[in-house]
């Protein structure tokens, strides 16, 4: 029977606690790796090591430490940490097969393995095929955006595994349908989906390496929506003078940043509104959604600070990391609510003979 089933016949039965800690370690390490990737892109050092999977023709694990200079340090460290997370993901998947009987969790753990391999491959293609046009854009941008997006989706997969192995999972499974408005999970999952759209916009902006297409906030070149005619862009480009000499600003870059701002506004409004509506409900997701809303507000502040500091590396990287944490929070909250909505049957209907709760009515009666 499923290890964490809230089946009264086996009260308190859960995945081994260490399995949860292992999954949580993978989540934290992945979050750190995303931040490290953020440093690589913020500093523009993604091509400091021109070959892959080797490092300056060395095996990446034997590349001399003395040569980890400048941008090489960040890019090489990113690769090493990434390969460690690949190994950790495989270990986690094997442990879940061995110590947890839930089919959905085992499938999800196995799914994480090809995802992390694909992610590593995309990182390599970002280096090796950076000059090859893909769908009309340089490989560096195509693979860079894909690499950035899948990294955070992978984080969410690990987050759901960590959630599934936690005590919270059992608890929300017991709470059931009657204790929650029936559409909350849809709202949270829709907001999380919008966050993925925002992530794609953000990754596209960052991988253009066009610096700050709009250098002021909350206005944009002193206006609500800036002009993008040729004369205006020419004036803008004449005055740009960063230390890292970014590509000239084009109209596309300006529209992209405006889209990022507008989606950010919609997202923070939606999440704060959701959190306010959960206030006083006494449910675990009230605090969870409050944390989510706080993260979104902090994320907006970091976005503004990224502009006000002229795209300071540290601030831009914090913006990436908090964005990833916000997405993770939304994704796990959405899955938890889905679980609460449908009881233990929600994620993967299990064999009735295995003792899972079958109906929402059973969940309600159990919760009461």
């Amino acid at each position: 029977m499923p290890i964490d089933s809230p089946n009264p016949a086996s009260p308190g039965a859960q995945a081994p606690r260490w399995l949860h800690w292992l999954a949580l370690a993978a989540v934290i390490a992945t979050l750190a790796l995303i931040a490290l990737g953020g440093v690589v892109t913020s500093k523009g050092v993604g091509m400091a090591v021109p070959d892959w999977p080797t490092t300056f023709d060395h095996n990446m694990y034997t590349f001399p430490v003395a040569k980890w200079q400048g941008g090489i340090f960040w890019e090489h460290t990113h690769r090493l940490v990434a390969s460690s997370i690949g190994a950790l993901t495989i270990i986690l998947a094997i442990c879940i097969q061995r110590f947890d009987e839930r089919r959905w969790l085992r499938q999800l753990a196995w799914t994480a393995v090809p995802v992390v391999c694909l992610q590593g491959l995309l990182g390599g293609l970002r280096v090796e095929l950076n000059r090859i046009p893909v769908f009309g854009m340089p490989g560096a941008i195509f693979f860079g955006v894909l690499h950035a997006t899948i990294s955070q989706i992978f984080l969410c997969v690990l987050g759901v595994i960590a959630l599934g192995t936690s005590a919270i999972w059992t608890r929300v499974g017991v709470l059931g349908r009657g204790l929650l408005g029936g559409r909350a999970h849809r709202e949270v999952l829709a907001l999380t989906g919008a966050m993925i759209v925002q992530l794609v916009i953000a990754a596209t902006m960052r991988h253009q390496h066009a610096g700050l297409a709009i250098p002021d906030f909350p206005l944009a070149y002193g206006r609500i929506y800036p002009a993008t005619d040729a004369d205006t862009l020419s004036r803008i480009n004449q005055r740009r003078g960063a230390v890292v000499d970014d590509a000239p600003v084009q109209a596309f870059h300006v529209h992209l940043q405006m889209a990022h701002r507008i989606v950010a506004l919609l997202l923070v409004s939606g999440v704060v509104s959701f959190a306010l509506r959960q206030r006083g409900s006494g449910q675990p997701w009230a605090a969870w959604s409050r944390i989510w809303a706080i993260l979104l507000v902090v994320q907006c502040g970091l976005g503004a600070a990224t502009i006000w500091t002229g795209k300071n590396d540290g601030v831009a990287t914090a913006h990436v990391a908090v964005g990833a944490l916000s997405l993770l929070t939304g994704a796990t909250l959405g899955i938890a609510l889905l679980r609460a909505r449908n009881g233990a049957m929600a994620i993967n209907p299990c064999d009735p003979t295995r003792g899972e709760i079958q109906t929402a009515a059973e969940v309600r009666s159990l919760a009461s």
Binding site: V45, P50, Q69, N130, R131, S234, G241, V243, D245
Partner: protein
């Protein structure tokens, strides 16, 4: 008759060869944005030791009498289609103090340039993107490493080199299909040597300021052409 034909041919040939130098000054109109200190260079444990004082960006190098440096001056139109021989000496771009020197240079399309690394640190030379179909490359170059010869097949103003190990390092090359080009010095002065007599469109291109053109006529005594690049 035969001799007179040969003499006429020689005379015609000489007439096309004659010409002279085009000289002038490019001035900057407006107040240039202030240059920024390259803080990461000075803070870098290896590169910081190679420089003295404050190193700044070089977006607008404005010298005496508002002369504007680092403007690439080249013949944009007026020359007959012709394949020119590679220059006797290759243009050299060096990496010194974790900067490209010169910051702006020129090269003839199809003939090699030499890239050196005089620094005691490893750099990578990354030509990542071409708008003109030139073949990109990204090559590591160790301290005191062998010079790299690289050729850009097609005209492109500018080709951009960058080092990702030291992400503040950029170098720009104006690649054109004739050898008649120059880069202005810190006071905005330039000389395009040995341009055959004739009428041409001369272009003045600055990395940030943009491009202006001027119609010129080169006679046996050469020509003078001044230009102004204006901050809009």
């Amino acid at each position: 008759m035969k001799h007179s034909l040969i003499a006429a041919a020689i005379a015609a040939s000489a007439a096309t060869v004659l010409g002279g130098d085009v000289t002038g000054t490019v001035t900057f109109k407006g107040t240039p944005p202030p240059e920024k200190p390259i803080a990461p260079l000075m803070a870098d444990p290896n590169c910081g030791k190679l420089v003295k004082g404050t190193v700044t960006t070089r977006h607008y190098v404005v010298g005496a009498n508002n002369g504007l440096g680092n403007v690439f001056v080249y013949v944009k139109a007026g020359l007959a289609e012709k394949k020119y021989d590679a220059p006797a000496t290759k243009p050299v771009i060096d990496q010194v103090g974790c900067l490209y020197e010169p910051y702006v240079s020129g090269a003839l399309a199809g003939s090699p340039i030499e890239i050196r690394n005089s620094d005691p640190v490893l750099h990578n030379v990354n030509f990542m993107k071409s708008e003109a179909g030139n073949t990109p490359f990204n090559t590591a170059q160790g301290p005191g490493g062998k010079s790299l010869d690289r050729t850009f097949a097609n005209p492109e103003v500018f080709v951009k080199l960058q080092c990702n190990v030291h992400p503040w390092m950029f170098g720009y090359i104006g690649v054109v299909n004739n050898p008649f080009f120059a880069v202005t010095d810190k006071d905005g002065k330039y000389t395009v040597k040995d341009l055959p007599a004739g009428k041409y469109t001369l272009a003045f291109k600055h990395l940030k300021g943009g491009e202006v053109t001027q119609e010129i006529e080169v006679k046996d005594s050469g020509a003078t052409a001044d230009a102004t690049i204006e901050l809009k």
